[in-house]
């Protein structure tokens, strides 16, 4: 039963107010992309033991989507941030580095 801080309304939201939305920062591949690109976009997902960036929606709350940087093994939360970015902002990367030096996730580290 996680608690994640919603960066839009500021609530430390109980997991029962949230809806999980899978992996963060997927890059959309539409018409003109190759079969492999489409396949990876639709189906290939990270499944790390450790640092993970994921999407959540404050569904029973302000309704906004946000991102969480979290450790899947310990459930430690490094930070939450707004969804209107295509990668984790520097302060989130720093927060992860402080706790998990040398981390990497897809193209981010």
């Amino acid at each position: 039963m996680l608690i994640l801080n919603c960066p839009y309304c500021g609530v430390d939201a109980d997991e029962t107010e949230l809806a999980a939305g899978g992996e963060a920062h997927l890059k959309r591949f539409g018409p003109g992309s190759s079969d492999d690109e489409l396949h990876d976009y639709l189906f290939t997902r990270e499944n790390p033991k450790g640092v993970h960036l994921e999407r959540w929606r404050h569904a029973s709350g302000c309704g906004k989507w946000f991102h969480a940087a979290r450790c899947t093994a310990t459930l430690e939360v490094f930070g939450t941030y707004k969804a209107q970015v295509s990668g984790p902002p520097q302060e989130i990367r720093d927060a992860i580095s402080a706790k998990r030096p040398g981390w990497s996730w897809r193209e981010f580290s």
Binding site: M1, L2, F29, P31, L42, W65, L75, A83, K99
Partner: protein, 1010 residues
């Protein structure tokens, strides 16, 4: 015999007698008794029978750890099986019945199992019932099902009379356990200003200390407890809750408290149980310790009891379980029991101390009272059936020979104490093996981790390992301060209270008594009382190759009973470690999982039962429909009328009547449940072009267009009519089940992908009651309303053509009328504010009388659309269907570069000409095809099953056509018009149908466009 003593009993009120029954016999006890203490006071030593062998069993413990004394409590709508007598507070009129026997407790047929016990070893079921295979279904399973199950299930026809509730509470520090350690931890944490919640599973504060004795700051434990509770009660930032068990600790400081509000006062208004859903910054686990039994032959005979429990019965409830007691121990603590019994006037025959060196100061005190203490001695065997009769005594370091026998009626045993580490362990806290005390205790370096990556549980007092009062108080004080600090508060610099108790000699691990007991003894030495697992069973498992404690647990069922091995786990894994020739920490423990003791299903469900089991969504027309024969159908959380059934009519008749009447006269459908989403902004058109497969940006204000939505995977997810309100604004209709889902879908894309697009979305589904006015006389009834009340909307074919919409007044209502049709008839869908929905509906019903108006339900809606070959999301689609499969290529824009799902629809499999495609199906004999039936083709697949070439997606009886009609997806279907395909039914019959065009009725579409 067990009996009430003349004195003692700190928890009972001898001035208040209560009456209860056990197996129908009326007995008496006192207020403050537990059911167990009251039964003992009535010499009811035997309280039940064991699960597997049906051996007679008595109470062995005095609290939540009790494995034996399980009873069925209450009757009728308040009956509940498997309740522990030790945690059941006595009340006047309580009714209890023992379990696992037939015909009665004293004489039980099932007890024959105990004589067969040598044939029922560990793994018996696995070995026995595997051959011959056909026996399982017809012989073994029925027998096992009859004999399985602990206790008796409540009558399935009866409904629980009680109510339950949840309660959300946030706190800085949660302290679980209201013994002296929990009280001290709560006190110091609270004095820092932190919000503190202290919960205790029993009805009393102070835990074991008042029974075990000693002093705290010079006061007796009882005095110290009342003083501290008074201090805590006076603090505004402290909540104290008795009868509330810490059931579980979960991630990020979530914990469950299980409050038994009214178990002791049944029938009093209010909830019976309350589940506290607690969010704590820090949790202090002050859950104490549980005494371990000793493993000797006959340790399960009624009258053999944990030493600590026996002195609880004397001190707390003034009951002695026996008159001639033998004490067996490997530690000093059990001497306290001997001393207390002796002082209460009970004969203590022997203290058998397995340690050669014997005990310390407490042993001296016992000897001074005249109790015989025998160091190095052990119990070889307890003799007796339904109660203890004789004790054979031997040397601890032998095999059980050279016996001496004494006549006794009770045994107090102590194998040492194990911290209750459950709250520490539930969320991942790790344990270390404490060799000196022969127990696992929390490893402070490996606590469960919270959201910040730091520990959020602290163990305090005996739950952390220390057993002596001075160490317990110091440890609890430190834990309370540490918790306050970790929660962000500054604890005051106060001195820990000084606890003082007699010094004790070191305990000595004794896992088997005597140490080298021969097999006949080991086969009668119980580890798990409830599941009847013996020392010999665990040893057998080890011999058969079970090395992991988790595997051994499942093979032998050790620790798998309702008590979850609170007494048996450590003893069992010590036996396993010995058999494997390994160290105990190497073997490890099984996993501790919540809840700590079973909690009621009612508490888990909370308020969600009866009328509020789940939300039922109602339209403004709901009550009218309910009063007019609605046969309700759940659609998501909505309830929609399936049909409006008239008196004397079957549902089927009603549907046929509605279907005919709507085509011939006038039908009304409550379509309020359809989703309505406003999409507005300069980029709204561009946005909808991405969401729908067809072009929405070219739609003109005032017009409507049917659209399809697909997922990025290409599959159809929703459909509906889009109306353009103005240049910047669209209103998108979704399916009934799709409103919230599609609203979320839109927000997801706007917030997470196209966040720079200027579009806002609002869900206005429930703002409107939307009523479909359908049939050849639809225009007439609306014009009549206008004529009567001066509504100004021109509803003529010229002013409001098909697939357009207008705002205006119809009769006396502000309305928006859409000329759209899901039936193929002349049809208006009219939206009015929900607050006037019922009035509008009633006005239509009234005005429609002369036109033969009838309301119709969802089944008629389905049949009318199927007659027209219109697809329904969820019938023709199942998450694997693309628009192209349904002949909806016309609704896919060729001009657009992109829309959600476009790229995926280009994949080779999506373009495969072998995909199943939509066709109409006409049964050859006019009957109705079975829903979901598969069409079979030539040949068989790799599994020898007939190849499937399609399936029925919708199937109905059409009263208008007088025959069954269906739609289906068939391989190469559109190319096979006129062919007959076969559908084997689950009823053994094979149905034949002809492939036809899916439009069965009014193929030209003449009726809707008038």
């Amino acid at each position: 015999m067990s009996t009430r003593l003349a004195k003692q009993g700190r928890l009972i009120d001898r001035s208040k007698q209560v009456t209860f029954t056990f197996n129908g016999t009326t007995m008496r006890g006192y207020e403050g008794d537990t059911l167990a203490s009251a039964l003992l006071a009535n010499d009811q030593m035997m309280m039940g029978r064991s699960f597997k062998y049906h051996r007679p069993r008595g109470v062995v413990a005095s609290g939540a750890e009790e494995p034996n004394a399980l009873v069925g409590l209450g009757e009728g709508t308040r009956f509940e099986p498997n309740q522990r007598a030790t945690t059941t507070e006595l009340f006047d009129g309580l009714k209890a019945a023992s379990q696992n026997h037939w015909p009665n407790l004293d004489f039980d047929i099932g007890a024959v199992n105990t004589y067969l016990s040598r044939f029922l070893p560990a793994g018996f079921y696995y070995k026995m019932f595997i051959h011959p295979a056909p026996f399982w279904k017809h012989v073994y399973e029925p027998i096992i099902r009859r004999s399985a199950g602990l206790g008796k299930a409540p009558d399935k026809e009866l409904v629980d009379a009680d109510t339950y509730e949840h309660f959300h509470v946030h706190t800085d520090v949660l302290v679980i356990g209201g013994g002296v350690a929990g009280l001290q931890a709560a006190k110091v944490a609270a004095s820092s200003g932190a919000r503190v919640l202290l919960i205790e599973q029993t009805a009393h504060w102070g835990g074991r200390a008042p029974v075990d004795g000693g002093t705290i700051d010079g006061l007796s434990p009882d005095e110290w407890v009342s003083r501290t509770v008074a201090e805590l009660e006076a603090m505004d930032n402290v909540t104290l809750r008795a009868r509330t068990m810490g059931a579980g600790v979960y991630d990020h400081g979530y914990a469950l408290g299980y409050e038994r509000v009214a178990d002791h006062t049944p029938g009093v208004p209010g909830p019976r149980h309350r589940l506290w859903r607690i969010r704590a910054k820090q949790i202090v686990s002050a859950t104490g310790a549980i005494e371990r039994p000793l493993s000797f032959a006959g340790n399960d005979v009624p009258g053999v009891m944990l030493a600590g429990a026996m002195r609880d019965y004397v001190v707390n409830w003034g009951v002695t379980p026996g008159q001639r007691v033998v004490v067996a121990t490997n530690n000093d603590d059990a001497y306290r029991t001997a001393i207390i019994l002796k002082k209460a006037g009970v004969d203590v025959l022997r203290i058998l101390d397995a340690r050669k060196e014997g005990g310390g100061a407490l042993a001296d005190e016992a000897r001074a009272l005249g109790i015989r203490v025998d160091p190095g001695k052990a119990i070889a065997k307890v003799k007796g059936g339904k109660r203890v009769r004789k004790i054979s005594i031997c040397n601890q370091d032998g095999v059980g020979g050279a016996r001496e026998e004494v006549e006794a009626d009770a045994v107090a045993m102590s194998g040492g104490w194990s911290p209750v580490v459950h709250m520490w362990s539930h969320c991942g806290g790790k344990l270390i093996w404490d060799r000196a005390n022969a127990h696992f205790r929390p490893d402070p370096d490996r606590p469960p981790l919270g959201a910040d990556g730091k520990g959020f549980v602290l163990a305090a007092g005996s739950a952390n390992g220390p057993l002596a009062l001075d160490q317990v108080m110091a440890d609890a004080d430190a834990a309370g301060k540490a918790a306050a600090k970790a929660a962000g508060f500054t604890p005051k610099r106060t001195k820990a209270p000084e606890g003082a108790a007699e010094g004790e000699n070191a305990m000595e691990a004794v896992w088997l008594m005597p140490a080298n007991a021969e097999i006949q003894l080991r086969m009668k030495s119980w580890l798990d009382f409830q599941n009847d697992v013996k020392v010999s069973d665990v040893q057998l498992a080890a011999r058969e190759g079970y090395e992991s404690v988790e595997h051994t647990k499942r093979y032998t069922t050790l620790g798998m009973a309702t008590d979850q091995g609170k007494l048996s786990n450590i003893n069992g894994l010590a036996i396993l470690a010995d058999a494997l020739n390994a160290d105990i920490p190497q073997v490890g423990t099984t996993t501790f999982r919540p809840p700590y003791t079973p909690i009621s299903m009612g508490a888990i469900g909370g308020e969600a039962r009866g009328e509020v089991f789940q939300p039922v969504r109602k339209t403004p027309i709901y009550d009218w429909s309910n009063a007019n024969g609605a046969d309700w159908e759940p659609v998501g959380q909505w309830r929609r009328p399936f049909a409006y059934v008239r008196p004397g009519e079957s549902v089927h008749d009603a549907v046929n009547r509605e279907v005919r009447n709507t085509r011939e006269n006038l039908g009304l459908l409550d379509a309020s449940t359809l989703g309505k989403l406003i999409v507005k902004g300069p980029d709204a058109g561009k946005f909808l072009d991405m969401l729908y497969t067809n072009m929405m940006s070219t739609l003109k204000p005032g017009k409507c267009r049917y659209g399809l939505m697909c997922s990025e995977n290409g599959f159809l997810i929703d459909d509906g009519v889009v109306a353009r309100i103005d240049e910047d604004t669209f209103l998108c209709h979704t399916t009934t089940g799709g409103a919230e889902r599609i609203h979320g879908h839109m927000e997801e894309w706007l917030q997470t992908e196209w966040w720079d697009w200027k579009v806002y979305v609002a869900n206005v589904t429930e703002q409107y009651a939307q009523i479909a006015v359908v049939g050849p006389k639809a225009r007439k009834v609306l014009e009549k309303l206008n004529a009567k009340a001066g509504g100004g909307m021109d509803l003529s074919a010229e002013a409001l053509p098909f697939m357009e919409w207008r705002d205006g007044r119809i009769g006396e209502f502000d309305a928006r009328a859409y000329r759209i049709s899901f039936s193929g008839e002349l049809s208006y869908e009219i939206a009015v504010p929900a607050s006037q929905g019922l009035a509008f509906w009633e006005a239509l019903v009234d005005a429609g009388k002369e036109f033969g108006v009838m309301p119709y339900g969802t089944e008629t809606l389905h049949i009318l659309r199927a007659e027209k070959g219109f697809i329904m999301i969820g019938d023709e689609t199942d998450g694997t269907v693309i628009p192209q499969d349904l002949g909806l290529g016309w609704a896919i824009s060729k001009k657009k570069d992109d829309y959600l799902g476009k790229r995926a629809q280009e994949r080779s499999h999506m373009a495969d000409r072998d995909r199943w495609k939509l066709v109409g199906l006409e049964s050859v004999d006019g009957s109705v095809l079975p829903d979901g039936a598969y069409a079979v083709g030539e040949g068989v697949n790799a599994n020898g099953q007939r190849n499937m070439i399609g399936r029925v997606t919708s199937t109905y009886y059409s009263a208008n056509l007088g025959r069954g009609i269906a739609m289906g997806l068939i391989q190469h279907g559109p190319d096979r018009m006129g062919e007959i395909v076969e559908f084997p039914g689950t009823d053994g019959k094979t149905y034949k149908a002809k492939i036809v065009d899916p439009v069965f009725y009014d193929k030209e579409g003449a009726k809707q466009n008038v």
